[in-house]
Each structure stands twice: as structure tokens, then as C-alpha cells.
């Protein structure tokens, strides 16, 4: 394969990791979907969920009233927690390493010895991160479609795509935050730490908001709110919510350029 720019080279670096992630996320989704037929019959579950006031439950399966419906099942078993968790871990892993990883290894000096502007390196690496997360998203979507077909679930492919798209944007948002911190400070673990904390914070804020009254107004600062509150699986995409995530992503990329071009590079 011809590696002729930083974008392609960055993806080439991820090729093995991409294969494993696709495999992992695909298996996880399909295996989960296989449980649907047994859940579908257990309508009494819905009453349990509806009457159960246990807040911990809502933290991990969402505020669910109808777990036996296709949307209820997929949302509660996959889209509320597990799938976005995987997107986040994957995206933060790539985002934090994009600049800081090369800087810590010392290869950034080598790369920038050639005629590339720092802006161009940032843009290409940022796009590569976006592409990799989207790639994982495509596999997740395909696995949802395949899983749904296997268990004969009545759910539209386009709705699955909408929910996946929303998840990919959520992943890229956090990947972008990790990218920014890596580009600004050149320290991978710092970037993972901060972004990981923001991820957990954002998640909890979004799920606890509806339960803990005083948190409610703050849920809107959580990216998770824009990911799931409109329930893309049931209602399709809410473009205003997607726009919020897109703006945050662009902002992270822009700030990464600004902070990276101002500072000294470390020698690794």
C-alpha cells in the first residue's frame, strides 16, 4: 500500500487495532441481540422496570419502560451504555495518541523534519481519528443489522443507522477532546485521564439528571444528552442535537491547531 500522507499513514498504524475492535464490537452486538427472542416473550419484565424505582438500574439501562420492544431492547442492552462506552474508549485511545503519542515516542521530530506544516499534521491526524471511529461505527451498524435479521427483530436499518451515527459523533466528540489535550500538552496519559473523567462525568450527568432534580438543568452540558435524549432509534436523528456535537468536534479540532502551533515540541 502506498502511504503518501499523514492521514493514510495514521490509519495504517491503526490497522491491526481496527480489525480487533471491529471484531470485538461486532461480536458483542450480535451476541447481545441473540438474547432478544427470550426477552421478547417476557412482557412481565416491563412491569418490573416500570415500577422499579431503583436509580442504579436507570444508570445502566436507561429510563426504560418497554424492554421487550425492539427499540427498548436495543437501547437498554446496547446503546445506553455498552456501545458508547466502546466508542469512547476507542476514540480516546486514538485521539490522545495522535499527537502526544508521537511526541512521547520522539517520532514527531522525525515527521516534522519534512516539509509539512504543523496545521497540516493536525488536520490529517484529526481526520484520521474521525475516519477510524466512523469505520468502527459502520461495523457496529452492520452487526446491528445482522443481529436484527438473525432474531427477526422488526427495526428499520435506517433507524439503526441514525442511532449509530449519533454514537459515532459522541465518540468523535470525546476523541476530539482527547486529541486537543494531547496536542496542547503532549502528554498522552494526561489526555486520557482528563478525557476519561469528562466521559464518566458526562455519562453520569446525563443519566442522573432526570433522577436527581437539581442536576437536571446541567444535563445539557453533557455530550451524552445530545447523543441519546432525542432517542434516534425511535425517532430518527434530531439534527439540532447532532449540530451541537459537530460544533464541539470542530471546536476541538480548531483549538488543537491553535494550541499545537504555538508551543515547543518535546524531544520524546
Amino acid at each position: 500500500m502506498m502511504l503518501r500522507n499523514v492521514f493514510v499513514k495514521s490509519l495504517w498504524d491503526q490497522k491491526r487495532s481496527l480489525v480487533w475492535w471491529c471484531l470485538g464490537i461486532g461480536l458483542m452486538i450480535i451476541i447481545t441481540m441473540l438474547f432478544y427472542p427470550s426477552i421478547r416473550e417476557m412482557t412481565e419484565l416491563n412491569e418490573i422496570f416500570a415500577t422499579d424505582e431503583n436509580p442504579l438500574m436507570k444508570v445502566f439501562v436507561g429510563d426504560i419502560t418497554d424492554i421487550t420492544s425492539p427499540e427498548g431492547f436495543v437501547n437498554s442492552q446496547l446503546l445506553i451504555f455498552m456501545v458508547p462506552l466502546l466508542y469512547l474508549v476507542f476514540a480516546i485511545g486514538i485521539g490522545s495518541g495522535s499527537i502526544a503519542g508521537e511526541e512521547e515516542k520522539g517520532t514527531l521530530d522525525f515527521l516534522l523534519a519534512h516539509p509539512l506544516t504543523r496545521e497540516s499534521v493536525i488536520v490529517q491526524k484529526f481526520l484520521a481519528m474521525n475516519f477510524a471511529v466512523a469505520w468502527i461505527g459502520v461495523f457496529a451498524w452492520a452487526s446491528l443489522v445482522i443481529g436484527a435479521a438473525i432474531v427477526d427483530m422488526e427495526i428499520g436499518y435506517s433507524r439503526l443507522a441514525a442511532a449509530t451515527f449519533s454514537g459515532v459523533l459522541l465518540g468523535i466528540t470525546y476523541g476530539g477532546i482527547a486529541f486537543l489535550f494531547g496536542a496542547a500538552f503532549g502528554k498522552r496519559s494526561l489526555s486520557i485521564g482528563i478525557t476519561g473523567a469528562l466521559g464518566i462525568g458526562g455519562y453520569l450527568l446525563n443519566v442522573l439528571g432526570p433522577i436527581v432534580g437539581w442536576l437536571e438543568p446541567f444535563t445539557k452540558i453533557s455530550p451524552f444528552y445530545y447523543y441519546s435524549s432525542s432517542d434516534p432509534l425511535a425517532n430518527g436523528l434530531d439534527w439540532s442535537h447532532m449540530a451541537v456535537l459537530l460544533v464541539v468536534i470542530l471546536l476541538m479540532g480548531g483549538m488543537a491547531i491553535l494550541s499545537f502551533r504555538r508551543r515547543d515540541l518535546a524531544v520524546g
Binding site: 515516542k105 517520532t107 522525525f110 516534522l112 506544516t117 515540541l265
Partner: protein
């Protein structure tokens, strides 16, 4: 002659720590310039400023007449650079890496790349992570020279190379220089600079303490000379000669150290019957040690 590297009043601080201070330096087109200094004296700091990896606290730097900050990418298009502690993409093979750079730079003469690899007996088909230190350095050298740059900047280039490869490297530098390229080398190895460079800048504790032609410096160098005569001679005869320091007589042998021209000493010796003369080539090392010690 035009100035290829021009450093004006360059200072770099890391917090309160001063890495280099008030450096003024011109490297002219066609020179092989040696940048010599002990560990931690600021060689790498200076070089990384030329490449715009770090930004001056004070001062301005221009390379090939272009501003080191505003025109950095243009500068880097025209120069070759070998980092001091080279880190390469470990997963790639040398070939993949060099192809990648070809992609980034465009328009490389691939035959020349292969030629360089053969010259250095570089293994370019094995993942870089499996290469030894010296073999990685070879890949680093190839990428610094392969696009026939106008200026090659190298930070301790012979790091890890065996003596044979060092010689090959010296030859490459000389050839490249003959074709018109300017070479800037940092090192703390005096004989290397002596062997290779036309001019040398000596940096100590962040300050440039001397810039001089290597030939001129050699004239000033201390030489150890031994004369063996056919009969014992007296020490006094030689002690007062200009430039002579440190005279020792052992039987018929006279050992002395001389700084500068040897003419007077040789003429004085010729009053006697000389059997043997042993002289070392002016040793720069001592001059540098002098400079280093301040």
C-alpha cells in the same frame, strides 16, 4: 558567500533554566560547520530552533534566507535533518519509511535512495523495531541525504555507527559538500570535527565561546614533539624558545610541548645531530578542553 544559517542573539530559557544565551552565528554556503560542545551545552537546543521545533525566547533565526518560524515548511523542504536521538516508526520497515517520506516530499530519485542504502549496508527490509541502534542510525542518515538537500543539519550523526560506517559517513559528507551542499554537524567528538569540518563553533554552557576555521585553530594547537639526539643535551637551551612549554630531558631525548609555529624549535634542534623526530599532529582536543573548562 551568502549566509545559509544566520542566528542573531538567540536565547532559549526553560523556565528559569537558561539553555542557550545570546548566540550569534553565521554558517556560509559551502561550509562544513562543526558545532562542538560538551553534554548539555545547548547543541540540540540550537538545532531544534533552526527546525522550528522550539521557539526562541529571544532572537531571530533564518535558514536559507528564510525566517525560521514563518517559512519553516519551505525551509524543511530544502534541508535534510538528522535528529540527535532518532526515533523512527518502529512498525515500518526502512523501505516503507523511506517510501512514506518520498510520498511526503515528492519527486525523490529512488535510485539514489537505494544507492545510499547499499553504501551503508542498511537493512531496509526488516521492521525498524528489530534493528540495532547503529542500523537505525543508518536509516536516519539516508533520509537526511536522500533528497539531495542544499543544507544538511545533523545532531551527533555518528552516534552508534561503527568505525567503518563512520568513514563511509565522512566520505558521504565530503561528496555532498563538494556538490555544493552546506553541512552543519553537532558533535562532542573532537577528532570527528577535526577530520571533517572547515569551521567550528564551540559552545559551552549555552554560550558560543569561539568560532574559528579549523586550520587556524590547529595552528594554535599544542603539539607534543620529541627529538632524539646522538648525545645528551641540556634543557636550558630549549626552555626559553618562543611557544615552548613543558620541556623534559631524558638522556639523549628531548620531549616538549609547543604552541604555535615550530620553526624556532626546529632551528635550535638543528645545532645538534638529530636522530629521530616524533611529532603528533596538532592536537585540537586540548584546545577544546581549554575552551570547555573556560
Amino acid at each position: 558567500m551568502d549566509s545559509v544559517i544566520s542566528i542573531r542573539n538567540l536565547t532559549k530559557n526553560y523556565g528559569k533554566n537558561v539553555a542557550i544565551q545570546g548566540i550569534n552565528l553565521d554558517v556560509m554556503r559551502g561550509e562544513i560547520f562543526g558545532y562542538l560542545g560538551p553534554n548539555g551545552s545547548g547543541k540540540t537546543t540550537t538545532i531544534r530552533t533552526l527546525l522550528d521545533f522550539i521557539r526562541p525566547t529571544k532572537g531571530v533565526v533564518s535558514v536559507l534566507g528564510l525566517d525560521s518560524r514563518a517559512d519553516s515548511a519551505q525551509i524543511r523542504k530544502r534541508i535534510g535533518y538528522l535528529p540527535g536521538d532518532i526515533a523512527l516508526y518502529e512498525k515500518m520497515t526502512g523501505r516503507q519509511l523511506l517510501k512514506y517520506i518520498d510520498g511526503l516530499r515528492g519527486g525523490l530519485d529512488w535510485n539514489f535512495v537505494i544507492q545510499l542504502a547499499e553504501r551503508f549496508e542498511a537493512n531496509i527490509d526488516q521492521p525498524i523495531r528489530t534493528l540495532s541502534r547503529g542500523n537505525k542510525q543508518k536509516i536516519g542518515l539516508i533520509q537526511a541525504f536522500m533528497h539531495a538537500p542544499e543544507l544538511v543539519i545533523m545532531d551527533e550523526p555518528t552516534n552508534g555507527l561503527d568505525p567503518l560506517m563512520q568513514q563511509e559517513f565522512y566520505r558521504l559528507v565530503e561528496e555532498t559538500n563538494k556538490k555544493g551542499a552546506t553541512i552543519f554537524i553537532s558533535s562532542h567528538i573532537v577528532p570527528e570535527i577535526e577530520r571533517l569540518c572547515s569551521k567550528v563553533g564551540i559552545i559551552r554552557k549555552g554560550e558560543l565561546v569561539a568560532v574559528e576555521e579549523v586550520e587556524k585553530l590547529k595552528e594554535k594547537a599544542l603539539r607534543k614533539i620529541t627529538f632524539v639526539f646522538d648525545m645528551p643535551i641540556s634543557k636550558e637551551e630549549f626552555e626559553s624558545l618562543p611557544g615552548v612549554i613543558d620541556v623534559e630531558v631524558e638522556g639523549t631525548a628531548l620531549k616538549c610541548t609547543i604552541k604555535g609555529p615550530v620553526d624556532a624549535l626546529v632551528k635550535a634542534a638543528s645545532w645538534h645531530k638529530v636522530i629521530k623526530i616524533i611529532s603528533d599532529d596538532g592536537n585540537l582536543e586540548e584546545i577544546f578542553l581549554d575552551f570547555y573548562a573556560g
